[in-house]
C-alpha cells in the first residue's frame, strides 16, 4: 500500500524526465571530402553532434510539456515541442529541415544578376558571334581550331566558370492544436509553412540552331497551408468536416539568360532571328482551397459504412510572359489572347464503402468511388509561337495549313478526366486455417483530351491465406486486370492546330501510347512465414507482374503489324498499307525476397534478408519517314529497344548482449544494394531509322551502395550509456549519363549538338566514408 501510495504521489507531483545523446564523431576516411551524394539529404558533421535530446515535464497531473530534437543545429535537424492538458487540449510546434544537394563538381559560366537573370561576359558573346564556326582542321588534332566558336566557349568555361553550389535547403515549420471539450467533440486547427531556398539545375532548351545551356537556377519556394476541422463522434458513428487552404509562391517566375552565340538579336529572315537572350517560365504561383465531409456508422453484424465527399479548387493566374524575348520577333508576334491564364481545376471525390462480417466465416465489402479532375481552365488560341526565342513555327506545306507564309497557330487543350470505381469483395473461411478472398472491381475512365476518351478496366482478384499452424503462414494473391478502350484516335491532338500542322507529316499511324492502349495485366504474390520455434523464423516473398499492351482498334499486340486497305491516292483502287503497331510491347517485373531471424535468447538476435528484382521492358517502333512511303513494310525502317533493370539487396543485422547483465552490448547493421541497367537497342545498321551504320550498344549502368554500422554500448550506470560507433559507407556508380558530364561537352568527336554548349557538369562522385563516433547517452532512470 505504501508503494502504491508513493507511485500515486509521484504521479501527482511535478515530474521531470529526459534523455541526451551526444558526443564527437570523426571522419577517419572521407573520399572525396564532403561528398554531396553522401550528404544528399542530410548533414553528417565532423565534430561534436547533439544527436538526440528529449525533455519531458509534467508540472501537475494531466499537464505535460515535451521537447524532442534530433541532429540539433545541423542542416537536417528536427525539433518538436508539445504541450497541453491530457484529454482536453494540446498544442504542437514542429520544425524540420533538410538539404537537397545535386552535385559535387558543378561549375557555371553564367553570372547571376538576381531575380532569375543570368548573363555572360559581353566580350565573350561578341567574340563568339564574330568567330567562325567550330572546326578541327588546322591542325586536325582533336581540338577546335583557335578562334572558332567552340574553342572560345571551351576556353571561357575552362578559365572563367566558377564553382556552383547546386542545391537547396528545405525548412518546414508547423503548428497544430486540438481541443476536445467533451468525449463527443474534437476541434483541430493547424498551419504549416514550408520554404525551399537555394538553387536547382535548370536546362535551357535552345532548339537545333542554337547551343543548349544549363545553369543553377534560383529556387525560392514558399508553401503555406492551413486547415481547421471538427468532428462529432458517438459510440457507433462519427461525422467530421474540414476546411483547408494553401498558397504556393515562387520567388522566380521567369529565368532570363544570355545566348552564348549572339550579343545582339540578329536577323536571319522575316520570321527567324538569333536571340541575344532566352527566357522561360519555370514555376507558377498557385492557390488551393477545399473542404471535406466524412463520416461513418457501425451497425449490427460487425458492419460499417464510411463515406467521404471532398472538393478542392486550384487556381493559377500569373501574368503571361511575352511570346518571346527576341526583340526582332516580338514586334511582329500576334497579340496574346489573354494577359494571364485564369487557370482553375477542381478535384472532386465522392466515396462510399460498406464492409461487414456477419459471421465468423464470412465477410464482404463493396465500394463506389468517383474521382473527377475537372479542368475549368480556358482553352486559348495563340496566333503564333516562338518555341525557343528563335523562330516562328511556320506552315511547311500548303496542303497541310494553307500558305507557307502562315504562322502556325496553337490552341491549348486543358486536359481533364474522371475515374469511377465500383467493386465488391467477399471473404470466406471454410475451415479454420484457410481464408479465401474473391474480389471484382471495375474502373471506368473518361477523358476529354486524349487518344482514348473512354476505357474500362476490370480487375479480378483471388487470394488464399493459410494459417496452418502457429508456425506456418502462407498468403497467395493472384490478380487479373483487363483494360479495354473505346478506340484509339492517334490524331486527337490535331485540335491543338487551328490551321493545321506544319506538314501532313509522314508518321507511323500505328503508334500507341501505353497509358491508353488496351492492357492485360497478370500479377501474383506469395508470402510465407515459417516459425518452427520461438527463436527461429524464416520468411519469403515472391511477386510477379506482367503487362501486355494491345491495339484498341485491331486487338493485335503492340509490335505486330496489320494491313490496311484504303484508296489513299484517289485512283478508286484501294491499296494495301502495312502498319506496325508501335509502342510498349510488354513489361515484366519479378521479385524474390527471403529472410530470417534468430533469437536464441534474451541476449542475442540476428536477422538477414535478400531481395532480387528484375524489370524488363520491351518496345518496338518504326521510323516516321518510312523509306518506301507510308504503309510499306521494310525492316530497315524498324527500330526498338529492350531494357533490363536488375537489383540485388542484402541486409544483415545483429544485437548481442556480451555479458550476462547486458552491461556490454554489441550491435551491427550491414546492407548492400546493387542496381544495373542495360538498354539493348535493335535496328538494322544503315537503315532509315538510325542513319547510323553501326549498332552501338549502351554501356551498362551500375550503382552499388554498401553500408556497415557497428555499435558497442557500455551501460556505465542506470542512467548513463557510453557508445562507440563505427560507420562505413561506400557508393560506386558507373553511369554514362552523368559520368561524362562536364561544363563543356562539345569537343570534336563528341556530340556535334553540344559544340557550343554550356553545362553545369552535374555528377556525384563516388565516395568511401568511414566515421568513428564516441557518444554518451544520459537519461532519466
Amino acid at each position: 500500500e505504501e508503494e502504491a501510495a508513493a507511485k500515486t504521489a509521484q504521479e501527482t507531483g511535478p515530474v521531470l524526465a529526459g534523455e541526451v545523446l551526444a558526443g564527437p564523431q570523426w571522419y577517419v576516411q572521407e573520399d572525396p571530402n564532403n561528398s554531396a551524394k553522401f550528404n544528399e539529404y542530410r548533414e553528417v558533421p565532423n565534430g561534436f553532434v547533439l544527436e538526440f535530446l528529449s525533455f519531458s515535464w509534467l508540472p501537475r497531473p494531466g499537464y505535460y510539456l515535451d521537447l524532442s530534437a534530433r541532429d540539433v543545429s545541423q542542416l537536417d535537424q528536427r525539433i518538436g515541442f508539445d504541450l497541453g492538458k491530457r484529454d482536453l487540449w494540446q498544442f504542437s510546434f514542429h520544425w524540420a529541415e533538410n538539404p537537397r544537394r545535386w552535385s559535387d563538381r558543378a561549375r557555371q559560366l553564367f553570372t547571376s544578376q538576381g531575380g532569375g537573370d543570368f548573363t555572360l561576359n559581353d566580350t565573350l558573346q561578341a567574340a563568339v558571334q564574330a568567330a567562325p564556326p567550330s572546326a578541327d582542321t588546322a591542325p586536325a588534332d582533336g581540338q577546335w581550331d583557335a578562334g572558332t566558336k567552340g574553342a572560345l566557349i571551351k576556353s571561357a568555361i575552362e578559365t572563367s566558370a566558377a564553382a556552383a553550389s547546386v542545391g537547396w535547403q528545405r525548412e518546414v515549420g508547423s503548428f497544430d492544436a486540438s481541443f476536445t471539450p467533451t468525449r463527443h467533440w474534437t476541434f483541430d486547427v493547424g498551419a504549416q509553412r514550408e520554404r525551399r531556398s537555394g538553387t536547382a539545375p535548370q536546362s535551357l532548351g535552345m532548339y537545333f540552331a542554337l547551343a543548349p545551356a544549363e545553369l543553377a537556377a534560383p529556387l525560392d519556394f514558399k508553401t503555406d497551408q492551413a486547415r481547421v476541422g471538427g468532428e462529432y463522434a458517438a459510440e457507433h458513428w462519427n461525422i467530421g468536416a474540414q476546411l483547408m487552404a494553401s498558397e504556393f509562391e515562387t520567388g522566380t517566375t521567369a529565368i532570363t539568360w544570355d545566348d552564348q552565340l549572339f550579343l545582339v538579336d540578329t536577323p536571319v529572315n522575316a520570321t527567324t532571328a538569333n536571340p541575344a537572350r532566352g527566357r522561360m517560365s519555370p514555376w507558377s504561383n498557385s492557390d488551393l482551397w477545399g473542404w471535406k465531409l466524412y463520416g461513418g456508422a457501425s451497425f449490427a453484424g460487425h458492419s460499417r459504412i464510411n463515406a467521404t465527399y471532398s472538393q478542392s479548387t486550384t487556381t493559377q493566374d500569373d501574368p503571361f510572359l511575352p511570346t518571346t524575348i527576341n526583340g526582332l520577333l516580338l514586334p511582329i508576334a500576334g497579340p496574346l489572347p489573354a494577359a494571364s491564364l485564369d487557370g482553375k481545376y477542381e478535384l472532386n471525390l465522392g466515396s462510399i464503402t460498406l464492409a461487414s462480417r456477419p459471421f465468423s466465416w464470412l465477410r464482404y465489402s463493396a465500394w463506389f468511388r468517383d474521382y473527377n479532375y475537372d479542368n475549368k481552365t480556358p482553352s486559348l488560341t495563340f496566333a503564333d509561337y516562338v518555341a525557343t526565342d528563335y523562330q516562328f513555327s511556320m506552315c511547311g506545306s500548303a496542303n497541310a495549313c494553307g500558305a507557307t507564309t502562315n504562322r502556325l497557330q496553337r490552341r491549348s487543350l486543358p486536359f481533364a478526366y474522371e475515374k469511377t470505381d465500383l467493386g465488391a469483395s467477399a471473404g470466406f473461411r471454410p475451415i479454420s486455417w484457410m481464408d479465401v478472398i474473391v474480389a471484382f472491381d471495375r474502373e471506368k475512365t473518361d477523358r476529354n483530351i486524349a487518344a482514348v476518351t473512354s476505357s474500362d478496366e476490370d480487375t479480378v482478384k483471388v487470394a488464399l491465406d493459410f494459417d496452418v499452424n502457429d508456425w506456418l503462414t502462407l498468403r497467395v494473391t493472384a490478380r487479373r486486370q483487363e483494360r479495354r478502350a473505346d478506340g484509339y484516335d492517334a490524331e486527337y491532338f490535331l485540335e491543338s492546330f487551328p490551321i493545321g500542322e506544319a506538314n501532313i507529316a509522314a508518321a507511323n499511324e500505328g503508334e500507341r501510347k501505353y497509358m491508353w492502349t488496351d492492357r492485360d495485366r497478370d500479377s501474383g504474390a506469395l508470402m510465407v512465414e515459417i516459425s518452427p520455434t520461438p527463436i527461429f523464423s524464416v520468411f519469403a516473398e515472391a511477386t510477379y507482374a506482367k503487362e501486355e499492351f494491345f491495339d484498341p482498334i485491331t486487338g493485335k499486340r503492340i509490335g505486330e503489324s496489320f494491313t490496311l486497305t484504303e484508296d489513299r491516292n484517289f485512283d478508286t483502287i484501294p491499296e494495301n498499307y502495312t502498319i506496325l503497331l508501335a509502342g510498349r510491347i510488354d513489361d515484366k517485373i519479378t521479385t524474390y525476397s527471403v529472410g530470417g531471424t534468430v533469437t536464441p535468447g534474451a541476449r542475442w538476435s540476428l536477422y538477414a534478408d535478400y531481395t532480387w528484382e528484375d524489370r524488363e521492358y520491351r518496345m518496338a517502333s518504326r521510323y516516321r519517314n518510312v523509306s518506301g512511303g507510308i504503309g510499306t513494310d521494310d525492316p530497315l525502317d524498324d527500330w526498338g529497344s529492350d531494357t533490363t533493370d536488375r537489383y540485388d539487396t542484402a541486409n544483415l543485422g545483429f544485437d548481442a548482449g556480451l555479458t550476462e547483465n547486458k552491461k556490454w552490448r554489441l550491435n551491427g547493421d550491414f546492407s548492400w544494394s546493387r542496381g544495373t541497367d542495360l538498354i539493348h537497342t535493335h535496328f538494322v545498321p544503315g537503315g532509315a531509322a538510325s542513319g547510323d551504320t553501326t549498332l552501338t550498344e549502351f554501356p551498362k549502368v551500375k550503382t552499388i551502395l554498401s553500408i556497415a554500422q557497428v555499435g558497442l554500448t557500455y551501460k556505465a550506470r542506470t542512467n548513463l550509456d557510453l557508445l562507440f560507433r563505427y560507420w562505413y559507407e561506400k557508393w560506386d556508380e558507373d553511369n554514362f549519363a552523368s559520368d561524362f558530364n562536364l561544363p563543356y561537352m562539345g569537343d570534336p568527336g563528341n556530340d556535334p549538338g553540344s559544340r557550343e554548349a554550356i553545362y553545369l557538369g552535374l555528377d556525384f562522385l563516388d565516395y568511401t566514408n568511414q566515421i568513428l563516433g564516441f557518444m554518451v547517452r544520459f537519461h532519466s532512470p
Binding site: R183, S203, P282, T314, A450, E511, E613, T649, S738
Partner: protein
C-alpha cells in the same frame, strides 16, 4: 485522440480512478503496469464507451479475475480473433480520419489485426505509436520486403535519412486514395509536398496530371529523380514516333572512349524539354519554355 468527459456525464473518470486500476493490476502484473504507465494508454484518464478505463478498457472488468486468479476470468486481447480485437481497439480509436476507415480497408480485409503492427505492452521506453518493431519503417518492411530493398537505391525518398516514413504518404489504416494513400489520388499525394507542380498550366502534359507514377517510382530507383526507366527510353515509351531511336548517338562510338550525345547524358530529353511538368509560357507548347 484523447477526449474528456463532460461533468454531466455520470461515470467518474479521474486520473486517480484510472491510476487506482493500474495500481490494483500492478500488484501482480508489475512489469505490465510499469510499461502501461509509460505509454499513451496509461496517460489518459478516459474510459471506453462502456465506462471502463485503464487496464479494464482493453481487458474488461477485472474483479472476477482478481478474486479467483483465473486467467479465463478476464479478457486476453492477444487471444481474440482479429475481428474482435480490432473492434476492441476501434471502440476508442474509431474517430478521426486516421483510423475510422479501418473496416473495409485492404489490411483489414486480409484479417490483419491492430496487434499485427502494434505492441501495447513494451519493455522500456515505448516505441513511437507503439509499433511492434523498433520503428515504423521496420514494422512495415517486415512484410513489404521489396519496398525495404527499393529504398536502398541511389535515387530514393529521404527515408534512410529519417526525414520521412511510410506514413508520410500512406494511411495504413485505410484511406480514400489508391494504395491507401493519405490523399485522394497519387497526384494529390505528391502535390502535398511538391506544390510547385500542382498549378493548372497553359500547356499540360497529360501523364503528369493523371498519375505521377507514370514516370516516377516513389519507392526508389537507380535512375535519377526516381524515374521508372532510363532516359531517353522512358519518354520513348510514348513518344516513339520520334526520329531518335534509342541509340547512343555517339560520334565517338567507335573510339575507345564513349561519349553520349545530348539526348542521352544528364537529363536526356529534358535537356531541351525542361518544363516537362507543364509550362505557362505562351511559347511553351513543347515544354522548352
Amino acid at each position: 485522440a484523447a477526449f474528456a468527459q463532460t461533468q454531466e456525464e455520470s461515470k467518474p473518470e479521474t486520473p486517480k480512478a484510472a491510476s487506482s486500476v493500474v495500481e490494483a493490476c500492478g500488484t501482480c502484473h508489475e512489469a505490465e503496469a510499469t510499461s502501461f504507465r509509460k505509454n499513451p494508454h496509461g496517460k489518459t484518464a478516459v474510459a471506453n464507451w462502456n465506462g471502463e478505463h485503464a487496464c479494464e478498457s482493453c481487458h474488461g472488468p477485472g474483479a472476477a479475475h482478481m478474486e479467483s486468479g483465473d486467467k479465463a476470468a478476464i479478457r486476453n486481447p492477444g487471444k481474440l480473433s482479429s475481428t474482435e480485437l480490432n473492434e476492441l481497439c476501434l471502440s476508442c480509436h474509431s474517430r478521426g480520419e486516421e483510423h475510422s476507415r479501418w473496416t473495409g480497408s485492404p489490411h483489414e480485409g486480409r484479417n490483419l489485426s491492430c496487434l499485427t503492427c502494434h505492441k501495447i505492452h513494451q519493455e522500456g521506453e515505448p516505441s513511437e505509436h507503439l509499433m511492434a518493431k523498433r520503428t515504423e519503417f521496420d514494422t512495415c518492411t517486415s512484410c513489404h520486403l521489396r519496398r525495404k530493398a527499393s529504398l536502398m537505391r541511389s535515387s530514393h525518398m529521404p527515408m534512410r535519412e529519417k526525414q520521412m516514413t511510410c506514413s508520410s504518404c500512406h494511411n495504413v489504416h485505410g484511406g480514400t486514395g489508391p494504395a491507401m494513400l493519405r490523399q485522394n489520388s497519387v497526384i494529390e499525394n505528391c502535390f502535398s509536398c511538391h506544390a510547385e507542380k500542382r498549378a493548372p498550366f497553359l500547356w499540360e502534359h497529360p501523364p503528369v496530371k493523371e498519375n505521377c507514377g507514370n514516370c516516377h517510382d516513389p519507392h526508389g530507383s537507380q535512375h535519377p529523380r526516381l524515374l521508372v526507366a532510363k532516359l531517353p527510353r522512358l519518354c520513348q515509351q510514348c513518344h516513339d514516333e520520334t526520329r531518335h531511336p534509342t541509340q547512343p548517338y555517339s560520334d565517338a562510338s567507335l573510339a575507345p572512349e564513349f561519349f553520349p550525345n545530348s539526348r542521352m547524358f544528364d537529363r536526356g530529353c529534358m535537356n531541351c524539354h525542361s518544363q516537362i511538368h507543364g509550362s505557362n509560357h505562351p511559347s511553351g507548347v513543347r515544354f522548352m519554355r
